[in-house]
Symmetry: C2
Amino acid sequence: MAKSAKKYVYFFGNGKADGTGAMKDLLGGKGAGLANMTLLKIPVPAGFTITTEACNSYFEKKKKHPDGMWEQVLANIKKVEDAMGMKFGGSKNPLLLSVRSGSKFSMPGMMDTVLNLGLNETTMKAFQEKTGNERFVLDTYRRLITMFGSTVMGLERSRFDKALDAMKEDRGAKLDTDLTIEDLKELVRIFKEIFASGTGREFPSDPLQQLKLAINAVFGSWFSDRAATYRKHNNIPHDLGTACNVQAMVFGNMGENSGTGVGFTRNPSTGEKQFFAEYLPNAQGEDVVAGIRTPLHIDELKKQLPGTYKELEKIYRKLEDHYKDMLDLEFTVQDGKLYMLQTRIGKRTAAAALKIAIDMVKERRIDKQTAIMRIDPEQFERLMHPSFDPNTPVKVIAKGLPASPGAAVGKVVFTAEDAEKAAKSGNKVILVRTETSPEDIGGMYAAQGILTARGGMTSHAAVVARGMGKCCVAGCTAVHIDEETKVMTIGSHIFREGYFITLNGSTGEVILGETPLVLPDLSGDFNTVMKWADEIRELGIRANADTPDDARMALKFGAEGIGLVRTEHMFFDTGRIRAVREMILADDTEGRRRALAKILPMQREDFAGIFRVMNGKPVTIRLLDPPLHEFLPKTREEIEEMSQEMDVPVDKLLARNKALHEFNPMLGHRGCRLGITYPEISEIQVQAIMEAACEVALEKVKAIPEIMIPLIADVKELEVMREMTIRIATEVQKRYKVRVKYDVGTMIEIARAALLAHEVAPAADFYSFGTNDLTQTTWGLSRDDAGRFLPIYVEKGILERDPFITLDRKGVGLLMRMAIENSRKIKKGMKMGICGEQVDPESVEFCDEIGLTYVSGSPYRLPVARLAAAQATLKKKMKKKGKHIGASV
Amino acid sequence: MAKSAKKYVYFFGNGKADGTGAMKDLLGGKGAGLANMTLLKIPVPAGFTITTEACNSYFEKKKKHPDGMWEQVLANIKKVEDAMGMKFGGSKNPLLLSVRSGSKFSMPGMMDTVLNLGLNETTMKAFQEKTGNERFVLDTYRRLITMFGSTVMGLERSRFDKALDAMKEDRGAKLDTDLTIEDLKELVRIFKEIFASGTGREFPSDPLQQLKLAINAVFGSWFSDRAATYRKHNNIPHDLGTACNVQAMVFGNMGENSGTGVGFTRNPSTGEKQFFAEYLPNAQGEDVVAGIRTPLHIDELKKQLPGTYKELEKIYRKLEDHYKDMLDLEFTVQDGKLYMLQTRIGKRTAAAALKIAIDMVKERRIDKQTAIMRIDPEQFERLMHPSFDPNTPVKVIAKGLPASPGAAVGKVVFTAEDAEKAAKSGNKVILVRTETSPEDIGGMYAAQGILTARGGMTSHAAVVARGMGKCCVAGCTAVHIDEETKVMTIGSHIFREGYFITLNGSTGEVILGETPLVLPDLSGDFNTVMKWADEIRELGIRANADTPDDARMALKFGAEGIGLVRTEHMFFDTGRIRAVREMILADDTEGRRRALAKILPMQREDFAGIFRVMNGKPVTIRLLDPPLHEFLPKTREEIEEMSQEMDVPVDKLLARNKALHEFNPMLGHRGCRLGITYPEISEIQVQAIMEAACEVALEKVKAIPEIMIPLIADVKELEVMREMTIRIATEVQKRYKVRVKYDVGTMIEIARAALLAHEVAPAADFYSFGTNDLTQTTWGLSRDDAGRFLPIYVEKGILERDPFITLDRKGVGLLMRMAIENSRKIKKGMKMGICGEQVDPESVEFCDEIGLTYVSGSPYRLPVARLAAAQATLKKKMKKKGKHIGASV
């Protein structure tokens, strides 16, 4: 080893490990887990982990190993040989190795694995001597050639599979095991030919050569298209790199006393405290994960090898005690001896996450703060999604495994590509596949739900769908799919592309046709978590709501006030649009006033209704914002209809439409610009608000109106509008002989207002950041038009994500920071919120970080915002203390 | 005087003065001039100036005098009485006083004046005793009642004028002087009746009461509508306030040895070194200024009172020696004795300003720097305006006074209101008036030129038009105007509203019909000034130019490079639009490439042409910027035509139009967003640029292309485009075997790019601030749509000026400062310019201040930009030294 070389390789085995469970960044999740288990004296085949640093360095050096890495690998092979009492490439008791990727975050099925490395003519003989099982050795060898050929050398796997199928057909064999030893020898020969003809070289016989190529392939798989896509969808940085785990092989396929299994320490769907595992006798682990064979219940192991099962139980409890979280396990039994191959924090459904977190608090394993940090807010959001109405009769036509809970309705599509295409044009689809593979990821994202004919609860489809929180019914054997002709048959039912189908991922039911869905029942665990989150969070939560009904919903979802009432929605109401149009068509102020007088009592009642619901809670009301032309009909037909109805000549309507036409309405005559040029419009609105507040005050309802002036670019606009507002408000209160506390504030939604906030602050009682428009103006980007290029931007990696969905911290966020800091220098503790619907967890965290008073979004999104706000508070506190609360990954 | 009172009143008289000529801020221009002249021992009637601070305090205290002011006034009246040997309100040798406004900046005719204060029954008798001229005393009294009634009490002046006219008609009198003393006594009675019935009170007989009300009226006139409008148009701050000058009356109307005059120390139209004055015997100064009587040449004074004329000559030379600038003078001769009433820096035409400045340098009175500071850039700009083609025959139908030089063509309008209305709808008009009054200001701004039937070279129309640099023919007696029926007759020609007429303000000619205009000849003085400016300025000057012809013009006007070539203009060319449309209609990249290949050679030749003209000077070329739909026809008719021409079905064209339609094109699929989604478009453009540069290099022409990427919001956009540009550029140079130095930079025209400039800088060789789009995005304001509310904003005082015309220092400027500072921290001395056409003097000064490398605008605007840049440099240097170079006002 070169004396200056960095440590790139970490050994584990025989109860000792160079690394620890905390070194996920360097060793990846799998490597850290293996080190941890080894240190916990849990039986793990010896091995070593090559670090993520080595991987990154490999890419920086244009696919050359960093200095010293290979020497460290060789030294560690020696340690593994010593630990296992075997020799890699040895002519006696030969050591076989597996090579597996393992990054910081789990990316199921995304990255490469090669097993059985080290086999060649010499070691096969020795291996056969040791096992006395020629069939097993030949089978292991042909698996090595297949995996090495496809994974390392990039040959199509189907070439090997086809050759196997052809031989089975030729020999009349149903199962692989029906083939004779001679058949297998012939198969190995054929496989080697396929390898040679496909790669232009012989299958390598040097074990070290095999190992080196396999390690490089694992590194290389980090930048495979499908891994990159997965990271993009899951917001995993591309520069983490993967670690590479090299480990002594153990075999679950050495006979009936061998087997392999995977499991969760608790039920990952429901969270129930119950060992949830599957076992497949005489099989290698990859058989289970790939869904090639459907595994059995773990009771099978208990029945066959009760001692081994007992040890497994002891181990999983020990691991849960150690990690204080629900875990996902992989193990292999070789000739009755148990080996743990992997452990990590288990993926779970939102419902399970809630239940497990709450149970662990009850079990006094963790505190409430940790429980709150354990819940993934994005997953949690899906709890808000609809499910089946239990009262609607449905026709169940098949039942598969309840692989990922939830309800999904959509049109049948047969390929991932079709799913993506259909989703783009706005169709809801169900992706049906015999089984899914990593190539299907894009289609799985696009689909409402996934139905597979094969594979178990831990098959690719099941694991990935649960991760996505997407409804999935897996292993539904009644389903027959002809992917070429795109026809699915379930019993007597024939489905072609576009036919409706419904899935119940919680029961595994497949339901005929389109089924109506209902809102989720949010109580129990949900309420417990919300209560804890509310105790912890510092950020206020408000809702955007335009009607009393909306307001009631907002309260139900935990709103502490209304952050945005859009008054224009009231203007569109069928009963009022006529008066609104009269106003727009009026030739002078007087005419507009006459028309507005008709709207006044209706608006007053709107506001009064909201105030009654929100009694004692603040209600931010934005004065009319959209340009007036939005209220006029656009098509010739509509115009003619309006002409008849209002007895106004078509020509006049056309002329007014033309006069009001704007090239860029987003940047046009709207917001406070309307109120300044047509003060009577704003005046009537303020009058309606204040009259409503006074009227409800007489009913002993406490209205707290916050009157909000939209779209200012200069403080003078606000000053003019503020003066008008105070004048009208004073007049109304005098008339009603009632005093109402009200505020006058503004939206910060134009870059200039944010830049000059120090000038705006003295004239504003509060700010609300309109991050939708602020994003549009800061980016020079029309949300309505960006669809033509934003997706290409995301695809090309120019944009990491859509800035309209998650707040752009760097640009828009900088403006917000400036505005907040400069304004609070002038008005300490000034009330400031955000009402732009960017209440996703990341945006909420940012809003908390920059010191906003509250966030406001649509009622359904509030629970997630409450959770995210609590997590933000906890992260902030931990950061201050320099500590980390480990979130579930 | 209260002991703590501030000094609000400054005395001048008898060769002594409390103030000095430098105290313009406090005493106003007139007050400072009076103090200065007094100190220079020039004969000035004694008086005192009440400060602008007193005026501002008066408004702050809701129209109450500040403490101590009145006491100071009383004390100073005493000093005036002593100096003049007269007594205010005295029954012997009574002192009469004038009250005149006077702010820091001259606002001709905008503010109030009251003369002859102090007359009542008692003083009239004493005055008559002293003068022995009852007619004169009565005439003076009736002037007092008129002025006091109209100016102080707000009665309509016409009520007095009508009464005078009625009496003249009744008595058969032609001139005022035809009225008898009895008639005048009767007139005074009638005037007092008009006063009493109009104001509800008797005409005040207490001289101090008269004075107090007059002072208040002068203060009050500061916030009159017309004064506010004038300030708005001239960018004079509203918070300066006016001083008030109270001065002993002297009378130019005391007989044939008396008279009044105004003049300039040099010719204000041409700048010739020649005393340019007018004299009106037996008249008061107001008669001249108001244009009521047309004054005579100053030779009249020389003839009548040669000694007095000699003294006047001595005085004007003394003043010019003192001020080292051309001055404007007002004087009165009372019984042969000369009194100077006012002096100030004289207004002048741009041509005169040039000549005077250059002459004064030649005369070694001032240095070049001072000469440059003396030229008003806005006025200078008008030198660039067109004049008559001397070769086109014109039909001169009348000749008036050449009151303000230049050429003007337009349709006749008869009222200021009509002028404004017509100008708003894009018509060019000539305002024709019998005489103009301050109420006409708005119309004069709106008109191309002004024609009056009455008034001399110093009439309201003449003075104001010269100030505006607007062509004016005044006192054209051949013109007869019936303002009621809106008909003008000139000889046999009858003009109604809308008829075309042409004015030559340099000759006074009125020309029939519409006459073609030509570009100004810019040589001589112009070149001298430009040479001096170029020696002084630090800011670079470039032009926006799209063709070789534009480029030639740019060089002619002093461009040191091209700051912006808009390539889209080349796309619109009739020869190419077909290929451009083929590109837009293509269904795939290959189709687009085929169409683009047709455009390539044409674009290459465009660029080569520009490079040849600009040999050795940088040329910044912006890649395609506008959205593609701008290149497609819009109306059904055009679409059908295109369908036939290109043999493409109408439906396809309609569909493509629909597909490309954008809600907010300004924020849509344009700029680099086009280049990123359709790389082939940018590739062909870069190829054309680099091939052109290589081709001209073979002709020994040095091309310096600066390739500019428009509309970036994030550095990644620039990185993608930069990589493409370098790739193509390298390939082209290799192919031509030529090396060309080129830069790749970007426009900063989106708020986010400015905010994150520290990220952008590493990927950019240069920046060009696109302040047009940057203003649109920073303000959230569509330039195309702002017309509906921006004028109302300016009117209501919400906006001081249109941010698209003069750079918004506070908002947009802040973003620019941030971008410049943050980027130069990373790249010291990074090249940065502005190409948004905001090259007005204020914007140029700001660009110099924030450290831009250059400004770029249309060729015609460059001379002003060069001058403004030189002035900016000088101001900066003086500021550093803490000195001031006095600009002409």
